[in-house]
Amino acid sequence: MSRRMVTIDGNEAAAYIAHKTNEVIAIYPITPSSPMGEQADMWSAMGKTNIWGTVPSVIEMQSEGGAAGAVHGALQTGALTTTFTASQGLLLMIPNMYKIAGELTPTVFHVSARTIASHALSIFGDHSDVMATRSTGFALLASNSVQEVMDFALIAQAATLESRIPFLHFFDGFRTSHEVMKIEQLTDEDVRAMISDELVLAHRERALNPNHPVLRGTAQNPDTFFQSRETVNPFYSATPSIVQNIMDKFADLTGRAYHLFDYVGSPTAERVIILMGSGAEAAHETVEFLNESGENVGILKVRLYRPFSTRDMVNALPKTVKKIAVLDRTKEPGSIGEPLYQDVITALAEEIAEPSFPLDAMPTVIGGRYGLSSKEFTPGMVKGIFDELSKEAPKNHFTIGILDDVTHTSLDYDPGFTVLDKDVFRGMFYGLGADGTVGANKNSIKIIGEETDNYAQGYFVYDSKKSGSITISHLRFGRKLIKSTYLIRRANFLACHNFEFLKTLDLLEHVIPGGTFLLNSPYSTDEVWDRLPRNVQKQILDKKIKFYNINALKVAKETGMGVRINTIMQTCFFAISGILPKDEAIRKIKQAIEKTYGKKGEEIVKKNYNAVDQALANLHEISVSGGLTGVEQTGTVVPDDAPAFVKEVTAVMIAGKGEDLPVSAMPVDGTWPTATTKWEKRNITDEIPVWNENICIQCNKCVLACPHAVIRPKIYDASILDKAPETFKHVKAKGKEWGDNEVYTLQVAAEDCTGCAICVDVCPVKDKSNASLKAINMEPQLPLRKAERENWNFFLEIPEVDRSRINQTTVRGSQLLEPLFEFSGACAGCGETPYVKLASQLFGDRMIVANATGCSSIYGGNLPTTPWAKNAEGRGPSWSNSLFEDNAEFGLGFRLTVDKHREHARELLESLRKEVGDELTDAILTADQSDEPGIYEQRLRLEKLEAILKKLDTPQAKQLLSIADNLVRKSIWIMGGDGWAYDIGFGGLDHVLASGRDVNILVLDTEVYSNTGGQASKATPMGAVAKFASSGKDTNKKDLGLIAMSYGNVYVAKVAMGASDAQTVKAFLEAEAYPGPSMIIAYSHCIAHGINMTRGMQQHKYAVESGYWPLYRYNPQLTEKGKNPLVLDSKAPKIHFSEFAYKENRFKMLTKSMPERAKRLLDEADRKAKEHYDFYQKMAKMEPADTKG
C-alpha cells in the first residue's frame, strides 16, 4: 500500500500510531494533549481497529493519576497500553512511571510537552514537564516536527517492546502538537513491519495470570532492595543500540534516517548548538542558511535523551568543534545548569578519558535557556547564540529571546534577522474567533497540502479571552519541506478579517515590500481608502503593498451565510494570493464545500457556491494613488488615570507587545494587582443593551444575570445629577425604603459588554405598546459608544449605595451591591460568571478565593487583565489558583490560617487588654458579625485597635497588628468546575467537607470539562454527547449534593439562577452564614451544551421543571431547631426530560447519530429525574430526627 501525504497536526500524528499499536488507552484531558485522547476515543467509537484487528478500548479516568494507575494495571495484565498527557498531568503520573519502569514494562506515553505551573500557569510548551520525569527510568525520545512525531511514535513502540524499557515520546506542546503540517503517513504495513508480534506475545507472557501466578510489587528491605534495583542496568545499557537498530530498520522502510544524535551543518564546524524539540528545526534551517553565507557552524539534535549514550553523542559531533552551546527549554532554579547542559558536560568529561574520544580537544560548553512557555525561538536567536560562541568568553547560563535586565543573562540578537526563502509563501490572517477564519485556513492547508505538490504548514495563535478573541493564522506553503518552527513576521500576504483591528494593531508591519494586503471592511471600493487609519495608508504607500478590499459581511448576509465570512475570505485569498491558478483554486474550494456540506443538502452547497461566486464579484483591488487622508490613531491603550503598573506593564501586554517587556518589569513571585479588566476597553460587540427607564420596574434581574457585570444599578440623591452628561438616564427609585429625592439609574458599560443579550432575555417587562420591546433592548453600539463612555464614567463617580440600607436577601437588593468581579474574558453569555459575581457582591470585601484550574481560573486569572476587583476602600477578593486537583485542600489551607490567626489575635488581644481597654477588648471579642452592620462595626473597632497598637512599641502589639484583621470575619470560597469537584478533586473535596471547617464551596457545574473543550465528567447527564461520550453518556450524573448531605453537618444547596434567582441569593447567604462547610452546586449553562447562549437562563428553568435539577437547600442548623434540614425549593416535575434536553444540541445531536439510543437514554434519564425528585421530596417530608436523644 502506498503512503499518503496528509496534512495533520502533531497530536493526530502521535494518536494515529498509538491507536494502531495499542489495546487499551487510558486518558484524561489536559491541554495541549487532549486532542490525542479525543481522536483515539473517536476512532474507537467509529470502530477503527489496531493492526491486530481489534478496536482499542479507550477509557477516560478521573485524573492523570488515575489514568496512570489504569495504564499500569492494564500493562501488568498484558495489554498493550498507552496514554497521552502533558504538564501537571505528567507529574501526576510520575509515581506510576517509577513502578512501570521498575517492573521493566513496555509502554509508550505520548506527551505534548507543556510548561509546569510555577509562579503562574501556562498552557504553552516547554520541556519542564518532561525533565521532571528524568529519574523515573522511562526512556525519553524527542520529536522535533510533525513527521517525526509519527515516525518516532512508531520507533518508540517498537523499541519499548524490544528493550522492555517504557518510553516517554515527547514533542513540543502547541508548536508541534498543534502545528498542521503536510507529512507522509505511515501505512498499516509499515506499522506491522516495525512491530514484532513475538515481542507482543512476550509482553503478554509476563502478565499476571492465575494460570501461572506470580507476585509483583513486593515490599523489600535493606537487605535486597538495592541489589534488586541494580538488576535493570543491562536493559538500560542495551536500549540505545536497540533504538538505533530500529531507526535503521525504519530508514530502510521509509527512507527517513534518524540517529540517536543527528548532526546538521558543516563537518568542520567549530561552533555547535545542541538542543532537542521543535527549536532544532528552526536551528537546522538557520545553520543551513548561515553555512551557505560562509559561516562554519552546526547543530546536534538530541533524539534519545534517556538512556543517554555519551559515546553516540561525542561521535556525532564534528571533531573540529571548539565551542558548544547547549540549549534547554526548561529552567531548574538553583541548579548548576539545566539538565541537557549538565548531561552534555558530563558526557564530554566521561568520554574525554576514553582513548576513542573523537574530538580534537575538549570544547568549551555553555548552557542557556530558551523558549519557555512557547516563547518564540527564531533564526535571529540561533544566530545570536552562534555570535556569542564566537566571543572569546561566551556567556554561560544565558537566556535567549528575552531581555533580562536584572541578572543580565540574556544574549543580544537581531530580531530582524531572517532566513527567508523567496519560494515560500507566507500568509498571515487576522480573524475573530467567531468568524471561522481558523477553520477556513485549515481547509486551505488541506487543499494545498493534499492536492498539490506543495508542502504546507499552519500554526494558529489565539488570545487569552474566550469572548471576542482574535485569532492569527500563520500559513506557509512551498516546494521544500518547511522547517520554520516560529511565527511569520515577514508575510507576503496578510489578510485582516475585521476592520476594527486596524485601529489597535499594527498589522502591516509584518508585510514585506510589494506584499499583498486583503481587507474585509464595511466600506465600498470608493470609500475604503479614506477610512483607513493614516499609519496603514502610509505603510501601503511606502511598501508599495497591493491592497484588496471586500465587504465580506455584506456578501455573507446577501448570500444567506449570516455572519460567517470564512468561505468568502478564503475565496478572496485563493483569488489573489497566486498560490494556485485562480480557476483551479476556486474549483477546489467548491470541491471542499461539496465534501463538507454535500450530505447536508444541495441547498447548503448552493448557498456556499453562491458565496464563493459573490466573493469573487465583490473583491476589488484598490487604487492606492490617494494621499494620507486617514485619521491618525492615538495609540493610547489605557487611559491616563490608570495606575503606573497598568500603564507600564499591562498596557504593553494589551497592545500585543508583551514580548518587549524586560525581566525587571515582571513581579518576582507571580503576584499581580487585581481590578485590571476595567482598563482594557475591548469594544467587542456590535450591539449593547439600552435601558428604557420609563417601563423598567427596577427588579435588577438583568443585573444579576449579566455574566460580565456590565449592567449596574445605583440609587442616589438626585442632586448628583447636576453634573450628569446630557444623555445620562435616571428615574425615581421605586420602593418605600428610598427617599423622595432618590433616583435610580441602570447604566451599561458599553465598551465592556460582550453583546450576549442575556439581560434582554431575562427582563420580565414588555413594552405595553410594543410587545417586542422590553425594559432593556439591544441597539447598535457604535453610535452610542462615545455618549455611553461618558455616562459610564459619570456613573462610576456616583457613590455606591450604603450597604446597610440594602436588603441583601432579595434579588433586587443584592444587585445594588457593587460587583467585585467584572468584565471577565469568559464566553459571551457565560453561565458560571453570574454566580461568581454574586458571591463577590455579597462577600467580596472580605473574601479569599481558592480557584481550581479550569474556565473560572482562566477567565479569573489569565493575563493581561483580570476581573477580580476592589471597592473604593481598596478591599476586594484576594484570589489564587493552585492546581486542578487540590483546590479544596488549598482553600482549606486559607481557612486554617484565618482560624489560627484569629485565635492567636484573640489571645494577644486578651493579653493586651490593659493597654487596649476593657470596653474595646470586650466589644471586639464578643462582636456579632452575622450581618453587614455587625461587620462594619467590627471594622470600626479594629481601626481604633490599630491606632492603639501602633502607639504600643511592644513585640506583642506588633504581632497583633499583623494579624488583627482576622478578627473581622473572612469569607473563604473554594470555587471550581465539575471536572474538579466531581472528578479530579473529589477526594480532596470530600475530605474538606468532612473537616467541619467553615469554608464555602461553589461548584460551577457545566456538566463537562468546559475549559479543555467539552470532555465528559461524572457530572455529565445521561444521554448527553460529549467528548469521550460520543455515543451519549449512558450512566447517570453523580449526586454530589447527596454525598455531601450524608455527613449531616454540611450545608448543601442546589441552585439554578435562571429557574429561581431568589432561591440562589438565599442559598448564597445561608451557605456563607453557615459556620461549617457549605457547598453550592450551581447549574451553569455553557457553550459546550450547544445552545443559544442568549437563552441560557431559560435552560435552567427547563432543567428544573423536568425534575432533573431539583432546587433545594439542606441546612443542618434546621435540625437543631427540630426541623427537617432539607427544604425542597422546586415543584414536582411537569415536563419530560426530553423537553429540556432537546433544546440543547448536546442531547439533540444523538438523535441525529443514534436515534434509537437517544430515545432510550432520554426515557431512562426522565425516569431517573422523576425518581430523583421523588426521593428528595420524600426526604424533605420526613419527620426530623429527635435530636434531643
Partner: protein, 331 residues
C-alpha cells in the same frame, strides 16, 4: 368490498386514510393502524425547514465557539456521522414499506422552489407509493398578489412532478379566491389528487406573558363543512382524486363527505384521540349505517350529494346565503 374506493389509482379497501401526523413516526403504531384497517397511510411531513435550517442550526451550535481559544478548539466530538433530516425520513419510508402491505404516501412540506424539492425523488427512490405535497403557505406580505401565490403552488407542483413518476397529491388550504379554477390549474399542472384542506394552526395571545402562542387543538366534526362544500363543488367538474381532511371523526362524517364526492377521508385528530382501533369502529359504524339505510357500497353514494347531484345546487352557492346563515348547521 362495500367500503372500497380508488385514490390516485390505488384500490383501497376503505376510505379511512390516516393523514400526515406524528403517528407514522412509530413503526408499531403504523402496524396497529394497518391492522385496524387503514387502507394507506400518509407519512408525517418532511419539512423544508428540517432539510436545510435544522441541519444548519445543528452545525452552527456544534461549531459555535470553536477555534477561538487555545485550550478548547472545539466543544464536541468531531467527525460524527449524522443522519440528516431527509436521511432519517427516507429510512422511515424504507422501514414502513418493509413492514406494511398498504400504500405508503410520503409527505413533503415546504413553501419555496429550492433544493429541498430534490427530496421528492429520494422519497420515491426510498419506496413511497405516492407523494403528498403540502404547501403550507400563509401570505403575509401586502405586496404579494393572489396570482403570485397561486403561481408559487403551481411552480412547486410542476417541479416536483418533473422529479417523480409516482402520483402526487396536492394538499392545499382554503384561502384561495376562485378555488375551483385554481383546482383546475393544479390538475393541469399534474396533480393526481387534491387534499382539502390544511388546518392552519391559529395563533393565540398569552395575556400574562404577552406572547403569541400557537393553539394546538384537535379538530372537531364541525370542521367537515368546509371540505364538504368544496368537494361537492369540484366533484363533477374535475376528474381528479379528492381527499377530504379536517374534522373527520365519525362514520357520519365519512358518509357525508363521501356523498359530497370524497374518494378518501383522511383523519388524524380522531386517531390521536381514540387510538388506531378507532378505524375498526368507524368501518363497523359505516357498515351499520349503510345496512340501516340499505346502501350497497360507498361507491354507490360517492358524489350522490355533489353540487351537480343535489336537487338544489344553490345550497352550495350564494343563492342560499340567507338560508345558510339562518338554518344550516353541521351536526
Amino acid at each position: 368490498m362495500r367500503l372500497s374506493t380508488k385514490y390516485m389509482g390505488f384500490d383501497l379497501q376503505n376510505p379511512l386514510v390516516p393523514s400526515a401526523s406524528p403517528l407514522t413516526r412509530d413503526l408499531d403504531t403504523v402496524k396497529r393502524l394497518e391492522d385496524a384497517g387503514a387502507p394507506a397511510i400518509v407519512m408525517y411531513s418532511l419539512f423544508e425547514e428540517e432539510i436545510s435550517h435544522d441541519d444548519e442550526e445543528l452545525e452552527h451550535y456544534l461549531s459555535h465557539g470553536s477555534y477561538s481559544f487555545a485550550e478548547a478548539l472545539s466543544y464536541f466530538p468531531e467527525h460524527q456521522e449524522y443522519i440528516q433530516g431527509p436521511e432519517m425520513y427516507l429510512e422511515q419510508v424504507r422501514v414502513l414499506k418493509e413492514a406494511v402491505d398498504i400504500p405508503v404516501i410520503g409527505s413533503l412540506n415546504g413553501i419555496s422552489i429550492g433544493g429541498w424539492i430534490e427530496n421528492a425523488r429520494l422519497i420515491e427512490e426510498a419506496g413511497a407509493d405516492a407523494l403528498e405535497l403540502n404547501v403550507y403557505y400563509l401570505p403575509t406580505d401586502i405586496n404579494q398578489t393572489g396570482t403570485e401565490v397561486k403561481q408559487l403552488f403551481i411552480d412547486i407542483l410542476k417541479t416536483v412532478k418533473e422529479k417523480v413518476s409516482i402520483p402526487v397529491a396536492m394538499k392545499i388550504g382554503h384561502y384561495f379566491s376562485a378555488l375551483p379554477s385554481f383546482a383546475k390549474r393544479l390538475k393541469n399542472a399534474g396533480a393526481d389528487a387534491l387534499v382539502m384542506f390544511n388546518r392552519f394552526y391559529q395563533p393565540d395571545i398569552n395575556l400574562e406573558e404577552l406572547e403569541v402562542e400557537p393553539m394546538l387543538q384537535l379538530s372537531t366534526s364541525d370542521e367537515i363543512c368546509l371540505p364538504l362544500r368544496w368537494i361537492a363543488v369540484l366533484r363533477d367538474q374535475l376528474d381528479i382524486s379528492l381527499a377530504a381532511t379536517s374534522g373527520v371523526h365519525t362514520a357520519r362524517d365519512v358518509l357525508k363527505l363521501t356523498m359530497a364526492g370524497a374518494d378518501v377521508t383522511m383523519m388524524t385528530s380522531a386517531l390521536l384521540k381514540y387510538g388506531p382501533d378507532h378505524l375498526r369502529k368507524l368501518q363497523q359504524d359505516i357498515i351499520n349505517w349503510m345496512d340501516e339505510h340499505e346502501y350497497e357500497s360507498l361507491n354507490q353514494m360517492r358524489g350522490s350529494m355533489s353540487m351537480q347531484n343535489v336537487p338544489d345546487p344553490g345550497a352550495f352557492m350564494r343563492a342560499s346565503y340567507i338560508k345558510i346563515l339562518n338554518e344550516f348547521r353541521c351536526e
